[in-house]
């Protein structure tokens, strides 16, 4: 197998090329450095890694299966499609991979209070879950709009003992929830650890979240080699902030596997109601990082839209910005309607109801599969299950 040039990012200043960095108020610099130091000491911490692996096995339910999607494969009649089943993780999505890693990190840091932001509620539920397990106080910031469309997850978080704080500023979605979480952190930094939910924010978060999520890609590599005795030809994942995508891509960035990220085109790329940051955005500084950003001509951050709350974000992880410019990963987008149709298709053909975020990756198969040939293998990261989206799907699909 041929290899692309070596890849060792971020650099010591927390940059992926020109992206990333630490664009935060001075108050947060010291806790970020502390986090970086403690995190880097864990690389050789056998006990920490054993504890995390055991928790993944006994609590998360890892390794998750790599399921051959026989009916979906027949439907397209071309290459073979495999699904990496993160939907089968405890709490129903990949978000738990990061939450578990970071709660152990918070314990190492001696923090007693955990805050998180959430869009779809999956990261909020995952954080509330690990806080319940480890007995730490948990506050989740969530936009008012998202609380409405993901009401079941709000109830779940409360049931798990977390406090859910409604965010009413700005667009009342994920971006504003992140603003409030950062403001909370600035104010309560002494006893509080911020479990950021995606590969976004200031360094070292994009690195830490990537590392904790890359368990997805590592397992995928082993599983596909076992089943097919070769690496896949394509890997597809949906992208909001980009944590499930980077999680499955990362172990493959130095290989020739074609990596495809699928963003939310909402009501269409020319509608101004989308969240296709890498497709339509330009360089900006937002939430502590330099990255592609959807913004107006004055540098004000755009109010974005996606039917899926988890993709409804105007920024994107800085590593994705680098990977786009570097062309190691290709980024596309699909609309709300295409995602809804894909959710229906997977439900009917495979008996798997995907999250609407994940449905964006599935929808891309319509474009990709006709171009594949019989022997080619496509792996799709099935990042989450759709239970949380049933209300939205019901409102939009007449059955």
């Amino acid at each position: 197998m041929s290899q692309l040039p070596e890849y060792n990012l971020p650099d010591s200043s927390g940059k992926f090329g020109k992206y990333g960095g630490k664009f935060v108020p001075e108050t947060l610099i010291t806790p970020l450095k502390e986090l970086e130091e403690v995190y880097s000491s864990l690389n050789d911490d056998k006990k920490f890694n054993e504890e995390l692996n055991l928790l993944h096995k006994e609590y998360t339910g890892r390794p998750t299966p790599l399921t051959f999607a026989e009916n979906l494969t027949k439907h397209y009649g071309k290459g073979k499609i495999y699904l990496k089943r993160e939907d089968l993780c405890h709490t129903g999505a990949h978000k738990i991979n990061n939450a578990l890693g970071q709660i152990l990190l918070a314990k190492k840091l001696g923090k007693t209070r955990i805050i998180a932001e959430t869009g779809a509620g999956q990261h909020g539920v995952a954080t509330a879950t690990v806080c319940a397990k480890f007995g730490l106080k948990c506050i989740v910031y969530m936009g008012e709009v998202d609380m409405e469309r993901q009401s079941l997850n709000v109830f779940k978080m409360k049931l798990l003992g977390a406090e859910v704080k409604a965010v009413t500023s700005g667009s009342k979605t994920l971006k504003d929830a992140t603003n409030e979480a950062i403001r909370d952190w600035v104010t309560n930094v002494k006893d509080t650890h911020y479990i950021i939910g995606s590969v976004v924010g200031p360094h070292p978060y994009p690195m830490i979240v990537r590392d904790f999520q890359s368990v997805i890609g590592k397992e995928t590599k082993e599983q596909i080699l076992q089943k097919e005795n070769k690496l896949p030809d394509y890997i597809i994942a949906c992208i909001g902030g980009g944590s499930n995508a980077i999680g499955i891509f990362y172990p493959f960035v130095i290989t020739n596997v074609k990596l495809v990220g699928v963003e939310a085109a909402g009501l269409g790329l020319n509608s101004n109601k989308h969240s296709a940051t890498l497709t339509k955005g330009r360089e900006g500084i937002f939430h502590g990082m330099k990255t592609y950003l959807l913004q107006d001509e004055n540098g004000q951050v755009s109010e974005v839209h996606s039917i899926s709350a988890g993709l409804d974000y105007p920024g994107v992880g800085p590593e994705h910005s680098f990977l786009k410019d570097d062309a190691r990963v290709k980024y596309f987008s699909v609309t709300d309607d295409e995602a809804l149709a894909a959710a229906k298709l997977l439900s009917e053909l495979e008996g798997i109801i995907p999250a609407l975020e994940t449905a964006h990756a599935i929808a891309y198969l319509e474009y990709l599969m006709p171009k594949t040939i019989k022997d080619e293998i496509v792996v799709l990261n099935l990042s989450g299950r759709g239970d949380k989206d049933l209300n939205t799907i019901r409102e939009n699909l007449a059955l």
């Binding site: 108020p25 001075e26 610099i29 010291t30 500023s169 600035v186």
Partner: protein, 262 residues
Amino acid sequence: MSIISNYIKKKNDAGEKILSIFLTSGFPDKNNFVKLALDVFDAGADMLEIGFPFSDPLADGPIIQASSQEALKNGINLQITFKYVKEIRKRTDRPIILMGYANPVLSYGIEKFADNIKNSGANGVIIPDVPIDEFDNFFNSSFDGIDKILLVTPTTNEERVKEIDNKSSGFVYCVSVSGTTGLHNKDKNLEFIKRNQKLVTKNKMLVGFGISNEEDVKRYIPYCDGVIVGSAIIKSLMNDDKNYNQALNLTRALKRATTETI
């Protein structure tokens, strides 16, 4: 030596401490902003910080967030802000500082931003989400001659305070609390201010964040070269009369307080 630090030094040497007032650009009335700024100077402000609005102001509490939103709604941007500065500069020699977040500057063009600061007659810039770690990448040589004012906070360790003092020019902005801007009842941590007073040796040091009344000013003023008040002024502007008497009276009272201690 910079115009700002010269000015502070001159005042301090004459036995006076500095009152710096923060206004959000174009707030509350975009057609009356230049007059408001000049009246604030007349009421006793030694320096003016003009905040250009951003949609996602991470370091700000609810009051300045609200004024920024209002300013954005009224179409305020950097072009308009520079026009204000030009007009204000015609009528005063006191320092004018622009304050705001990195993204509007990046979008405007970093060089163009620096050029316009010089052309408009502003003297310095505060960008709270560009810490010293990103300083050299952001403030390139086009910023030569413009004061770049950096912040120290309660989480900044001694070594870093020295480093920040070294990079900063104009003055060092000492943030009084771990938190966002606004009127909070957090304990006033004087020990940390006293520590910084000893560590900040190259620059003058002004204290800001959470200073809202005469009591606050009197408490801090013995340990710094001046104070900065933002949210309290913005709040009083929110339901003020057309002559801004409430905000101007507050400015007068705060200035008086800089000459007294408790």
